[in-house]
Amino acid sequence: MTEKIIVFDKVNKWYGNNFHVLRDIDLEVGQGERIVICGPSGSGKSTLIRCINRLEVHQEGRIVVDGVELSDDLKAIERIRREVGMVFQQFNLFPHLTVLENLTLAPMWVGKTPKKEAEERAMHQLQRVRIAEQAGKYPLQLSGGQQQRVAIARALCLTPKIMLFDEPTSALDPEMIKEVLDVMIELAGQGMTMLCVTHEMGFAKAVANRVIFMDEGQIVEQNSPDEFFENPQSDRTKDFLSKILGH
């Protein structure tokens, strides 16, 4: 595999004193890799990817992102966040700003890009997610699928090296899931490093290099999608797959 862009080394995290949410996580992600993380709710999969841009703080072990180790150093965190785009389950668009303003905010304030250039780049990203005609609208005037595509475009505006997706289609109506997945598949085709928490197994089969199954804060099993679905190793994985694929 190529250069390692994310490294988890014996990472542990607790919520409060007793809830051990991540247990001895070891994980290496190569540049351009596309990883799908699945598992039952409460298994720590969201927490895992939220540790990468330090929305969650781990207590033990090391996390190195793009050569920078995560610590309390705010400057390092801000640098990493510029390299890591994130898409949330609830979109989290800024409702008081127009679509275009949502996209230009970070480039202008974080990247110090002049307004005109930021807007040109934003329009380019909106075209990429096929929603350029909505640039002047406010987020709440859009459908869920449109909002999530705007959120993807917003994350792309800082030209990140890594994209994190935290259940990007879980809050969407069934009719809108496809339009978001299509954008993500396109992105995967362009060589972006992606970590995606999702239960869209079709998506996993289509784009992932590797599927990771988590339970109780641990990585139970990881494998290529074909192997993972055809030939799961652990009982826990088999049980999970039978539940989500069984109907």
Binding site: L55, M86, N92, F94, H96, T98, W109, L158
Partner: protein, 367 residues
């Protein structure tokens, strides 16, 4: 064989629901409770409105003649008291010949405030306008330069003082309250405790005691002759008091912002202050516009309490004008109605403005 989906064309409603007559029917005579209430209100209006009109207008005396007023007592209002005393009510103890100065100063200040409320003026040059008008206000009021005779602050009074205290109270308390509200949610325990102590301490005492402290106690702790002007001390007192209440209103808005908004801003690399300024505060403040305006209106009216530390703002100036004059003292009610009208004009404008702001900030919420 599959059925063909056929869309049903929209039709207008069968009964008219918009317009004056349907409105009256629905809201005033909808059911027996509405009918009864409407009739009672109409009855009360017929019983009292004619009396009020005859006292306030038909039998009222408008001439500044105390004898005529005395004769009309009980049957008609004596608006003559306003005609006679309005300069004293509006300008307080400010030297009579120099009263054009507070007049011009107040008009300037009001013009500045109105301009600041209008969208077309919201550009960087507005700051310059403030930087020009505020010193001009104090030069005109205080004098002592440009050939204007010096007028000490204890002679300032009436409406100019009310407007000045309210304006500076609001303009200074608002940013302070935002800082305190953010501080109460800070992750740093020292800052958080400091803000909690400040808010709870101030909210635990009435404004009157804050004003007493500022006016009478504070100078005791200062070297003789070194204490700042009483007006400044009182202004600081009002600001600190108002900011504590405002801070809680603002904090209410801050708490209503979903965590996801902050996480999204963080994930984009925005710093703490950028997140607060660009994401959290615009939404939080928009949410609590009615509460903030509530506080602003309260500040405006609370300025009337400075009378107790011998600053004669509008309410104080009215007492000053009437208490010293036995001929006119009986017509206090008319005097109070006059300043009521002034207070109402300001407070009502503020509340209408707040509605306009609410409409503006809700643009993004309409689907």
């Amino acid at each position: 064989m599959s059925a063909v989906f056929k869309s049903i064309a929209p039709r207008p409603a069968p009964v008219r629901t918009e317009g004056f007559v349907p409105w009256v029917r629905a809201n005033l005579f909808g059911d027996w409770k509405s009918i009864a209430t409407t009739l009672i209100i109409l009855g009360l209006a017929f019983a009292y409105v004619p009396g009020i009109v005859s006292w306030g207008a038909v039998n009222a005396v408008f001439k500044p003649d105390a004898d005529v007023c005395q004769a009309a007592r009980g049957t008609g209002a004596c608006w003559g008291v306003v005609t006679e005393k309005y300069r004293l009510i509006i300008f307080g103890r400010y030297p009579y010949e120099a009263q054009w100065r507070p007049e011009v100063a107040t008009i300037l200040l009001l013009a500045l405030l109105i301009a600041s409320c209008i969208r077309a003026f919201w550009r960087p040059s507005l700051v310059l306008l403030w930087a020009l008008v505020i010193p001009a206000f104090f030069v005109l009021m205080g004098g002592g330069m440009l050939g204007l005779e010096a007028v000490s602050t204890d002679q300032w009074g009436g409406l100019p003082l009310t407007i000045m205290l309210a304006t500076f109270g609001i303009v200074l308390a608002f940013p302070l309250s935002v800082v305190v509200a953010l501080g109460r949610r800070s992750e740093l325990p020292a800052i958080r405790s400091l803000c909690v102590v400040y808010v709870e301490l101030i909210r635990g005492v009435p404004l009157i005691s804050v004003l007493f402290m500022a006016s009478f106690m504070f100078p005791l702790f200062m070297p003789v002759g070194k204490s700042p002007d009483v007006l400044i001390r009182v202004l600081v007192g009002i600001t600190l008091f108002a900011a504590a209440y405002l801070a809680e209103t603002v904090r209410g808005g801050l708490q209503a912002i979903p965590k996801g908004q902050i996480e999204a801003a963080q994930s984009l690399g925005l710093s703490y202050w950028q997140t607060q300024r660009k994401i959290v505060l615009p939404q939080a403040l928009a949410m609590v516009v009615p509460g903030i305006m509530n506080n602003f209106i309260a500040i405006f009216k609370d300025t009337s309490l400075v009378t107790i530390v011998s600053l004669y703002e509008l309410t104080g100036a009215l007492s000053l004008a009437l208490n010293s004059d036995a001929d006119w003292r009986p017509f206090k009610i008319e005097g109070y109605l006059f300043i009521t009208l002034i207070y109402f004009t300001f407070c009502f404008s503020m509340s209408r403005y707040s509605l306009w702001i609410e409409k503006r900030v809700s643009v993004s919420k309409t689907r």
